[in-house]
Symmetry: C2
Subunit: 422 residues, 2 copies
């Protein structure tokens, strides 16, 4: 029997395993609950009407269509029978494995306040992004028709909770939309007066960057009109707005970029997890007692970065995927010695808005317009395929040249009866 | 007071009125329940994963942003107070008018069988298109995991009800997807064996074209693997499939392209309507007794094509919009004599699949690859703005060259809790 590899999750980690096993004597099954691989680093641009959904997503089975040994299944995994080496699916289906890779990622988390989700959606899937886009654009539309100045101000106040890269990128993109792209389109409101408020519980934005890059990002955001509130935890989210510190802020759009929680993979295989639900794995990325099970990416935690935890970013998931593929290959060749994973940090990137970004390559630090160009070229480079590179480049150049965003569509408002019934 | 024009509906007709009034001494309010103008002739390509949503839709307020006399409102009209010349909105809002243009279009209709809609969705909005795309792609995914051959066959049977241009274009696009684009992506099914069945109650497909073009379209569809059933009305649609004539056909995807019903505009202004709900208007497109109210496009019916009814196509709506704008201008200039509308038919176009289309310009008829190129160039020409022309051209050239569709995304499966609550 050919060695059977099951990969759960077709994000950066899962796909890297599949790519790393090209030509190996294995059969591979990729299981994902979505039919597409998503380029998450640009998801906030779908949420802010810069890019279209199809520009940053690829059907998984299309990506691997030439690898006849790979089967792609659309399905939701509910557990793993480690005794019988079988993955269990929601609809009763199952998939047996010799090697199992769990790369199921994370979702945003509310620190025990899941009741905030309806009021403060996060950004992890294409549906999240179109829902956020809808919410932002609809708020401008409602403000245009609102005559009460207090209600109108709440509709024109956009709160972003969390000052990491996602929060900073969202705040910058919304400020740019309101202050630069939309003015002139409305008759009763001045979108330049919209407030964009970024709330961060810590002492500075972009805490994973060096202090001087944080300070630069802070100043850039303020120059774009973003109000930054530091050292203040959000204590309440509701339909009326947020309470942070002891101050209430009336706002109709609240976006959550403050925390993530790993998928249930740790529980499936009985592993201990950290506070965010990430499975604690062995130095070779396997589950303790189950050398045939690997857990990688956002759903795992490992101190493999000179003793520090590996960060939850795309390059880390890719490196882990490559490591797993190499380990499986060595075992197929008869070498079963554990291979410890070591993370190599290439750098941190975050964009703040038009012509402003920060990059921390360790020894080299870049900021401003040069960083912005490097950021843009790097992201186009890492997109898959010429088709989407051309499409994203066209979208960006268009906005850069004309200042108008092409994807300002409000959709998905009602669920059609047809959809409800099936 | 400046003359106030209210336009309800920003389709081809409504926008043509606004364009025709450029520079006139009027204030204009455009009301639409969507925030975007939609290029409906290409909507079936969103439904079949050829184009992205943002490639055929434009935010209305962006299109008219430079016309400071135009106010755009997102809202749903529920009625018209003709006495007080006021349009009533669902949320209690209202808009007074001196001239009113109702250009509210149509939706698909089920000839008294609205209970079929959940099983046989139609194609009129972007949401319709993404829902249909999801349904088509999900059926292939489910077939890939289905082991029972009978259930699998039903998942791989696609029924299109209605042999007009929309039905023909959908059937051709689905056949092309199944038989040319998807093969090689699945491991357990052969998508080339998928059945695409086009059911038409009349005696031939494309009944609005000449008989020889109908026959050509019929032969082209069959060459692409579409099964055509003529002279058979659909008597039942359910989760299991359709019954047509007295034959049942097991099918999990049924698409409705058989009939339309006009919006409620006729009822708002107390006009008689035809069987499809279209308001019967005066020869100058006004409502009887209300020369200040115009009804145009798919929501009106008028025998202004050498005594025959004007067809429900984009060029007809545009011509009516231009006529209304001209009438309002003449009245502002003091000439109140009624101006009869006369429809000029430019031609009928329909595409059948890659390198096949039919065009009927009256004296000149074109079919085959030349018609296909004319069809493509004409549609790119009629798109608004360089941005979307480039994007659509890129999408088409890419598919033409590589045979892979870029928009094969299954989205909008679940409504997120965040969306349900608001």
């Amino acid at each position: 029997m050919t060695h059977q590899v099951v990969i759960v999750g077709a994000g950066f980690g899962g796909l890297a395993v599949a790519q790393g096993l090209a030509g190996a004597a294995v059969n591979i099954t990729i299981i994902d609950q979505r039919n597409h691989h998503l380029f998450q680093p640009l998801l906030y641009q779908v949420g802010t009407a810069v890019l279209a959904t199809s520009e940053i997503a690829w059907p998984i089975r299309h990506l691997v269509r030439k690898r006849k040994e790979i089967t792609t299944l659309l399905g939701e995994v509910t557990g793993v029978d480690t005794q019988n080496r079988t993955v269990l699916l929601e609809d009763g289906g199952m998939a047996g494995y010799d090697s199992l890779v769990l790369a199921t990622g994370a979702r945003h988390a509310y620190f025990g306040h899941d009741e905030w989700e309806p009021y403060a959606p996060g950004l992890k899937t294409l549906e999240d992004a179109t829902a956020i886009r809808r919410r932002i654009l609809l708020s401008f539309e409602r403000a245009e028709r609102e005559t009460d100045p207090v209600a109108r101000a709440a509709l024109l106040t956009f709160v972003i909770v969390g000052g990491g890269p996602t929060g900073v990128e969202l705040a910058g993109a919304i400020a740019e939309l309101a202050h630069q792209n939309l003015p002139g389109e409305y008759r009763h409101i001045d979108t330049r007066k919209a407030r964009v408020v970024l709330i961060e519980a810590g002492a500075r934005v972009l805490p994973s960057f060096t202090e001087d890059l944080s300070a630069y990002a802070h100043a850039s955001l303020e120059r774009q009109g973003v109000e930054i509130q530091l050292g203040q935890a959000v204590r309440e989210c509701s339909a009326d707005g947020v309470i942070y510190g002891d101050r209430p802020l009336a706002a109709k759009v609240i976006l959550w970029a403050a925390g993530v929680r790993a998928s249930s993979a740790a529980a499936w295989v009985g592993l201990p997890a950290d506070a965010a639900g990430r499975a604690k794995v062995e130095p070779d990325l396997t589950a303790a007692g189950h050398p045939e099970i690997f857990v990688i990416g956002d759903t795992a935690t490992i101190n493999a970065w000179h003793g520090k935890p590996v960060p939850g970013i795309a390059p880390a998931a890719k490196q882990q995927g490559i490591h797993v593929a190499r380990t499986i290959r060595m075992r197929l060749g008869g070498d079963a010695a554990p291979q410890n994973f070591r993370y190599k940090h290439a750098g941190n990137l975050a964009t703040i808005g038009k012509r402003a970004a920060v990059i921390d390559f360790g020894r080299v630090k870049v900021r401003g317009w040069l960083a912005w160009w490097i950021w843009g070229l790097a992201h186009i480079y890492f997109l898959i395929g010429l088709r989407n590179r051309l499409a994203v480049a066209l979208s960006w150049l268009w906005i850069y040249a004309t200042g108008s965003r092409s994807a300002c569509l409000i959709t998905q408002g009602e669920q059609r009866p047809a959809e409800r019934l099936r």
